[in-house]
Symmetry: C2
Subunit: 214 residues, 2 copies
DNA sequence: TGATGAACATACTACCGGGTATGTTGTCAA
DNA sequence: TTGACAACATACCCGGTAGTATGTTCATCA
């Protein structure tokens, strides 16, 4: 379980650029972010960026990929748990923690999904993008399957699986929109936030009254 | 309670432009939407648009305002209800219906809020925008106050008011991201969707087991 | 009937931003 | 020592877009 950006990117200079780009994409969106913006936030110029990446879309795709890789890594150890509710709780908590601690990357993933949904990609990017979206879809399916099992076991109560899944994810993902770090914030504070988010999502799924969260 | 765009915009040509613009802003976002795009979707040219609006930002602000006006109109009749839970249920349901039926305008409001949060506005637009955001904040407070009363009466159970409010809104607003109209869809189908959304939000707030929704 | 203005269309300008072509500097190996 | 290459910076090109300036058409009214 390696959650940082560094562990998922080979060269240090590339990682710096990706982090800066993720921040810009989060703050200004894809189109509003110019390569010069990213360069300026690094105290550099375009030259440096185009030395490491072929295009703006290329950078974007990399940020997306790294974001998803970190998510997979975060839930990996819980995927084999037998009890669906316990599995869901652990995965949901890990997911929420990821949304908070790697917010710029997760916002970029969000932007990417929306871009793909409206087909705002060039033909060549098309295949790369499709692969990333599939990556993300598979990740979502890990949760979805857990919802199915949880409903069968009588632990969750909802009519429509797709809607329940959508609503669950908007809650678990929501910190990428409203969370902002506080001064002097500790790991415990962040975990407390994540717990509140998981609790709300759990209740929304019609889960039984709360046990403790990891 | 007038929910349509026509009832909130004086001239018909202006209303047409606003509707087309709302669709474009929803599909492509603010920056990605060119004035020519909006004009083309109307079978017209820039000339028509700049005859009715002074700038792109001006159109955007109008779409925002109309979107919010429709929302206010939708919940108006329920605001005076004494029972907080019943009030919340009616307002939440009306809100969810609005998210579904006026999706392009509501997505534009969403985009506008995000733009303001990152300060992507020019100085003059600044005051207009601030006013719109305040408009939206007041709307949110109507719900927030209901949450406070509902918690005091023991009907809702949550620790943090701000977080509960955030999570409630992301659920109620979520249809603007995942809803898309089906062929042959009836009003009853839409109300059924809204009911599911409201139920999930209600549960997330720690509401008691369900009565019927309006 | 002709003058006037609303409601557009057309033609043009200025600028911004992605991408490229070409320097410049430091490092390392032969 | 040099030459070769990585790792950038600088200078430039060019397509797209907000905004403007200037037609054009049609209805209305004196």
């Amino acid at each position: 379980m390696t959650l940082g950006v560094r562990e998922h990117v080979q060269e240090s200079s590339r990682a710096d650029i990706l982090e800066a780009a993720a921040n810009c994409f989060m703050e200004r969106g894809y189109t509003e972010t110019s390569i010069d913006d990213v360069a300026r936030s690094l105290g550099a110029t375009k030259g440096r960026i185009y030395h490491h990446f072929r295009s703006k879309a290329d950078i974007f795709a990399e940020v997306f990929r790294v974001g998803m890789e970190m998510n997979y890594a975060a839930i990996e150890r819980y995927r084999a748990m037998s009890d669906p509710v316990a599995r869901w709780r652990h995965m949901a908590f890990a997911h929420a923690i990821q949304m908070i601690t790697t917010k710029p990357f997760q916002r970029t993933v969000w932007v990417g999904v929306k871009m793909h949904l409206r087909g705002a990609t060039t033909p060549e990017q098309r295949s790369v993008f499709a692969e990333l979206i599939e990556y993300r879809t598979n990740y979502g399916n890990v949760f979805r399957e857990t919802l199915v099992e949880g409903r069968e076991s009588g632990d969750f109560r909802f009519d429509d699986l797709s809607i329940a899944n959508q609503l669950m994810f908007v809650v678990l993902n929501s910190p990428i929109f409203w969370y902002s770090p506080r001064v002097g914030e500790t790991r415990a504070d962040i975990e407390d936030l994540a717990r509140k988010v998981v609790t709300a999502a759990y209740r929304g799924l019609g889960g039984k009254e709360e046990q403790s969260t990891p």
